[in-house]
Symmetry: C2
Subunit: 303 residues, 2 copies
């Protein structure tokens, strides 16, 4: 099952010709989830060859412009390009008002159903689930109400050992029970323990998105053990005071959280425009948490 992330924007507030502000695209089992949507995201989607009518749900972390100014344009283009399929949007309540006002101004009635789901920003809560994945939001620590998102695969069924399928002549009708963990009794009455003839399902993968936020250990329970943690690192450690004042994080702070949460991999991004060379940020983060990688526009990561 696909569980991969594409970076559509890796910069903080101001777009440059090589780095757009925040937007991440998560593909879970060929369903696309867009997380934040800075100005120009629709062009990034096009540039990186994503079929953007496939986006099914959009999650907006907060109402700073570098996280949502591209949303209205994307919704409009989906409309103009003939979308009929419903789209679900999760974000701060005020976001709906902002969109409605602009739709009203342009006398636009979208051709597709847009469902808006307001987020609470006050607690960890499940905001969506389907048969493959759950999505939770949790509060971050920033100058306006902001939340992170946790995407977690559901535990899949056990896998029947292919080498035994023919040998034991397991009837199709029995297979679902085996996948659910039941033992198997054949026609001769022989009992096979489930763990003898099935394999553990792959461990469920998870992706946590934390942008923007000051350092806060309050998020540790939500990001613990996740496969990939995206955590903003607007600044290097020598600007820790600045980071604190602006309620952003440093490389060392993000790496410390990654270490404490025992995540598998840390992805850093949302870099201040003052940094032309990002290698020092990567090295600083790796000094605390070696399994750190750096976000670049257009890169894809199989989680």
């Amino acid at each position: 099952m696909t569980f991969s992330l594409t970076i559509l924007g890796s910069n903080s507030a101001i777009p440059t010709l090589t780095r757009n502000p925040s937007a991440h695209l998560l593909n879970v089992n060929e369903r696309l989830y867009l997380i934040d949507c800075a100005e120009g995201t629709q062009l990034q989607i096009r540039k990186f060859h994503v079929h953007f009518q496939r986006v099914q749900r959009i999650f907006i972390s907060h109402l700073h412009g570098d996280h949502f100014f591209g949303l209205i344009g994307l919704l409009n283009s989906l409309h103009l390009l003939g979308r009929k399929e419903e789209l679900h949007l999760y974000g701060p309540p005020l976001l709906k008002e902002i969109l409605d006002l602009q739709m009203e101004a342009s006398q636009t009635t979208l051709n597709y159903p847009l469902f808006f789901h307001p987020l609470s920003f006050s607690r960890y809560e499940m905001i969506y689930e389907n048969e493959k994945v759950t999505v939770h939001s949790f509060p971050l620590l920033h100058s306006v109400p902001t939340c992170g998102f946790l995407f977690r695969e559901k535990i899949q069924e056990r896998r029947i050992r292919k080498d035994l399928l023919a040998e034991l002549k397991i009837p199709i009708a029995e297979m679902q029970n085996l996948k659910k963990g039941e033992d198997y009794v054949d026609e001769q009455g022989r009992v096979f323990k489930n763990e003898e003839i099935t394999l553990d399902p792959p461990s469920p993968r998870s992706y946590a998105y934390c942008s923007d936020t000051a350092y806060t250990e309050a998020i540790l329970p939500f990001i613990r053990e996740c496969d990939l943690l995206y955590h903003e690192t607007t600044f290097m450690q020598n600007m820790a005071a600045n980071a604190k004042e602006k309620q952003h994080s440093t490389t060392i702070e993000a790496a410390t959280l990654a270490k404490k949460a025992n995540v598998k991999k840390l992805l850093i991004g949302h870099f201040s425009a003052r940094y032309d060379d990002l290698q020092p940020l990567l090295e600083e983060a790796r000094s605390v948490f070696p399994e750190t990688i750096i976000a670049e526009d257009g890169m894809s990561i199989n989680i």
Copy 2:
């Protein structure tokens, strides 16, 4: 004196990797006027090496997204990049409400004074003037209130013939009078007619911007004889019915207006995304008005 236009976006509603939606940048005597501001305009400004803090006034023709979705991001970036100089914005009254709501949502107070000038959309009126230029708005015919803009140089002073300056020993104190058209009487009482010793000023140049609009001869008095007319040509003539329904124009319609208005040059743009090859649109327009050119992102025109 500089009077030049740079195309920042030449497409209609949907941005592509080579054509952004509407935004024009007019340089009059090194003052920059931005006309419309589609999503991504701030990146276009950067791409085409314009120093965007020099933009002094922004004119928004109407509230369809492909003409203003980039405005909030541009205003925000100017703020983040430390602008202190005042900025003047002209547009539909509802635009201010849209901007205010987004500023409120992000808890942003701009570091620079932003003056909003609501447009009436009901008549030809002067909306700005300085010592070099006047700007008028005039109503267009579209599905939401929309206006065109006419930028016209003021008539400059007469120019004293350099070859006579030394010969006649004209005192500096007299020069302003000569430039204003007065005759010159020298110390011996000889009278020189103004037209003998001065040259006509260069004829004032003008640029008219008409997007979006159905064909309407009501605009002829405003665009007559202008040096450069930008008129949208969303469609070719075989889609005239479609153009009419959507209140857009065809190549033939724009060229017909250019001809009737006796303008010097016609610039066409705002092309429907259905046209990959724009040469047929150019040829069709030229069949009626040969002095037609086609807008391309990044092109500059000395008017």
